[in-house]
Symmetry: C2
DNA sequence: GTAAATCTGTAACGGTCGATACAGATATTC
DNA sequence: GAATATCTGTATCGACCGTTACAGATTTAC
């Protein structure tokens, strides 16, 4: 066992508290005093455990990823590409407009910071979002191979479309949109799945304007 | 004429310089020294002219609105609802991924700040985005009256869908997406317009899941 | 001309930022 | 027990934040 005085707080609980603050106020908007107050610890404890504010954020983001991994795994396991798309968008719509009060509105990967004094955090978040997009793209490529999606369809563009929708839902959610309103949008976005998957062909012919 | 020493800088040019800083770094990420440096003036000049950092931001946002008004007017003047949607999304896709280097990527109303230490600026920006959404909604309501859109279609949901897309495009743009990639997404989003406009009926019957 | 008004640059304000020095407390190791 | 290691709270660090006091410069009003 490790020597010295043991830690007086639960690391996971502290991360959850910090997550809420970053989620609601963004990386730059979350001050150290906001964080330590929410986490119920003093600055030296925070620094001993996480190294820096950025280190804390990275740990929070990792934990966030772990939580969302369950969701993504379920989504990708849907039997068809159409059902993947539906599960993803409806799931995101419900999640970002969470009415339970357990989470702030939106998504940490968006609300955490799109811009800032330097690009470190925005870039980090962009990489995490790109990773999710890549998961969807690979799932759609697999659907093309299995014949679920036509060969002409553009897996990358479809994944990007879903990601744009998801990010847009985050923006709308933090502006106060209700779960009902966001799910209406998700339904609209999913309505033309048949036309969408055929879009790859058109794109190849005439390209985007 | 006004008495006293005249101002040594052009107010409009200074606002444009400040706009770029807020656009790229967000409200909180833009420090006073960033702003005064970009504007080429000293703090007292800034405060005499704009009152405060928030006052400067409001003036910048007003100027931004003026610039975008030309775009929105053109979009709303399109003959059909389908063409309005196309003009809007393709226009936004081109704008937020601006390759000319004249503007930072994304949109001031999104990049300016989704979150923060307090909600003043995020709320202000949300109101401005909601205003644009309302313009689209009113245009679609008008299209319903003129028979361009079926009576069953949901003008509010269609406008919200376009807004979600536009905001998502901003997020994707600031993460480095190219104009080509964003326009591919816009094309996909517009592909199922006929199915989308009929969605209002479905929604009324079974509601969003 | 003189007075009044406004803008300018310098220089600094109090406050808060993220981050730490330090000493006391609490554990393991021997 | 003594030695060592780690965590804790207090109190504070220098840096930068948004903001402003002040004196000099430049204009109009009379």
């Amino acid at each position: 066992m490790r020597t010295g005085r043991p830690r007086c707080f639960c690391k996971e609980e502290a991360l959850d508290k910090a997550m809420t603050v970053f989620w609601r106020q963004g990386y730059e908007g979350a001050s150290l005093s906001d964080l330590t107050k929410a986490m119920g610890i003093n600055p030296p404890s925070l620094y001993a455990c996480f190294g820096s504010k950025e280190g804390l954020f990275k740990a929070v983001l990792e934990r966030y990823d772990q939580r969302r991994e369950i969701f993504m795994t379920g989504v990708l396991a849907a039997p068809t590409a159409a059902e993947v798309a539906q599960a993803y968008l409806m799931g995101v719509a419900g999640f970002v407009a969470d009415t339970s009060g357990r989470n702030p509105p939106g998504c940490l990967m968006v609300q955490g910071g799109l811009s800032g004094g330097d690009r470190d955090i925005p870039d980090m978040l962009a990489r995490h979002r790109a990773e999710k997009e890549a998961m969807l793209r690979r799932r759609f490529e697999q659907a093309k191979k299995s014949g679920d999606l036509p060969r002409t369809s553009d897996a990358a563009a479809l994944a990007r479309y879903l990601m744009v929708m998801a990010n847009g839902l985050c923006v709308q959610a933090v502006a106060g949109a209700s779960e009902k309103e966001l799910k209406e949008v998700a339904v609209i976005a999913l309505t033309n799945w048949p036309a969408m998957v055929a879009q790859g062909k058109k794109t190849r012919v005439k390209g985007p304007a």
